[in-house]
């Protein structure tokens, strides 16, 4: 990671604050998803020291494992749920804790798969965060309505038993409807597009006041939707 990535991580951690839980919406250019996902993971695993779940839909989980190893981000606190690995015929090898679902076509089964992961793999009570790489990648395999329903169910499953952060990484310019669907659930919205990152990471990398448009800090905690 370069200095800009490190600054972005500090920006994200500062934006999340101490007590955030529930869905947090990240507005990210589609070409930057992998980079920003890695930065978010580093912030949550190393800075906030949370345990988490990472669901791979866009590419097999081995690629994120490789990136994390390269950038010295430990895998001990992270469990993968791979929805594309068995579908992609990719022969890349890695060694990380992972469960698989057969294909990305039936995302309605993902929450059940998460619930059925044994405590040795994922203890939902202590799961500090759960993120998906990425929501838009579900659209070629599922209708928009299915993805929207999945999103709501996923957030409910992940937040039902603890103070889990659910980062939702979406490109507002490329997929406005999906962004709005995520926004309707989110407790925070963090702008990670190019200009916002440049502003937040300028001043020699120091964390500056961040642009967080709080949608409703209390709505999610109160269980309202």
């Amino acid at each position: 990671m370069n200095e800009q990535d490190e600054s972005l991580m500090r920006y994200i951690v500062a934006s999340l604050g101490e007590n955030t839980s529930g869905p947090v919406l990240f507005d990210v250019n589609s070409t930057q998803f992998v980079r920003v996902n890695l930065v978010i993971l580093k912030g949550l695993l190393l800075e906030k020291k949370l345990n988490g779940l990472f669901i791979s839909v866009d590419r097999p989980h081995q690629y994120m494992v490789h990136l994390m190893r390269m950038h010295q981000i430990g895998l001990e606190r992270l469990m993968f749920l791979d929805a594309i690995g068995r579908f992609s015929a990719d022969n890349k090898i890695c060694n990380a804790g992972a469960s698989f679902v057969d294909a990305p076509f039936h995302i309605d089964t993902l929450p059940a798969a998460i619930n059925s992961m044994g405590d040795d793999k994922l203890n939902l009570n202590s799961c500090g965060f759960a993120m998906i790489d990425n929501l838009a990648a579900m659209l070629p395999y599922n209708s928009f309505g299915s993805v929207q329903a999945f999103l709501k169910m996923f957030v409910e499953v992940m937040t039902s038993r603890g103070n889990t952060i659910v980062p939702l990484v979406v490109d507002s310019e490329r997929c406005g409807p999906l962004y709005q669907a995520a926004k309707s659930l989110a407790v925070k919205e963090i702008d990670c597009r190019g200009e916002a990152i440049a502003r937040a990471t300028s001043n020699s990398g120091a964390t500056r006041a961040v642009e967080i448009r709080k949608i409703s800090e209390t709505r999610f905690a109160a269980g309202g939707r």
């Binding site: 589609s30 070409t31 980079r35 992609s88 890349k92 928009f144 329903a149 190019g194």
Partner: protein, 234 residues
């Protein structure tokens, strides 16, 4: 239930090629992620194409990674490249990382080369990658080159980048056939002798998921823009 109107997010992401006149021929730019082959004979502009592609990305804030297979030191590459006005030498080492594979590809096993490339990609996390030229690897590598090309193309896309690979061909040959099946797009740079002069053309032969323009388009290579598709000027 809300319906997803355009843009739904299900459309292919596209990034600008940086070549004036080319993007309108391919619905706005290269698919992202993808592997695009630029093929042509010596001197037809393949490296210029690749440099412009990376420079355009750097200008847009995207990270670039340039794999050369020629064992050419950075300073020599830059000495020639800097003659183009679109090249900013300060991009190199920052927004464009230059990586020399030339010394490694002699007698290397395909899996080992792929690992070396992936280590660099994981380190740099580029959105734009160039491999220039890919043909050299085929002539030097031990083992199954076709399998290497297939695995390489598959993995490059999973790294979330659009890669331009350049392929050198002999006069009369269109493109390296062993790579054609593995890539998502093929762009030919052609040279033809007409009325005593050598004229250059660009042709989009294949671009997956894209309603692309067909037929040869005249191109010019100049110091301001690199390669320009001339038809777009009129």
């Amino acid at each position: 239930m809300t319906t997803c109107s355009v843009p739904s997010g299900n459309e292919i992401i596209r990034i600008s090629s940086g070549i004036p006149g080319l993007d309108p021929m391919i619905e706005g730019g290269f698919p992202f992620p993808a592997v695009i082959m630029v093929a042509g004979t010596a001197g037809v502009g393949k490296t210029t194409f690749a440099l412009k592609y990376l420079s355009e990305g750097a200008r847009r804030g995207e990270q670039g990674l340039y794999f050369t297979t020629l064992s050419e030191p950075t300073q020599w590459m830059l000495r020639y490249a800097s003659q183009f006005k679109f090249i900013d030498p300060e991009m190199f080492g920052d927004k464009i990382i230059y990586s020399d594979l030339g010394a490694m590809i002699r007698d290397i096993e395909p899996a080992d080369l792929l690992n070396i490339m992936e280590e660099k990609i994981a380190e740099v996390m580029p959105q734009r990658i160039v491999i220039d030229p890919i043909s050299v690897i085929g002539s030097m590598m031990r083992g199954n080159y076709r399998a290497f090309l297939f695995d390489m193309a598959n993995r490059l896309k999973n790294w979330n980048a659009t890669t331009v690979v350049t392929g050198e061909v002999l006069p009369g040959e269109l493109y390296p056939s062993d790579l054609g099946y593995a890539v998502d797009g093929i762009i030919l740079l052609l040279m033809a002798e007409e009325e005593g002069a050598r004229r250059k053309y660009l042709e989009v032969l294949k671009m997956r998921g894209t309603d692309h323009m067909t037929g040869k388009q005249s191109i010019d290579i100049n110091r301001n823009d690199g390669i320009v598709v001339l038809k777009s000027r009129f």
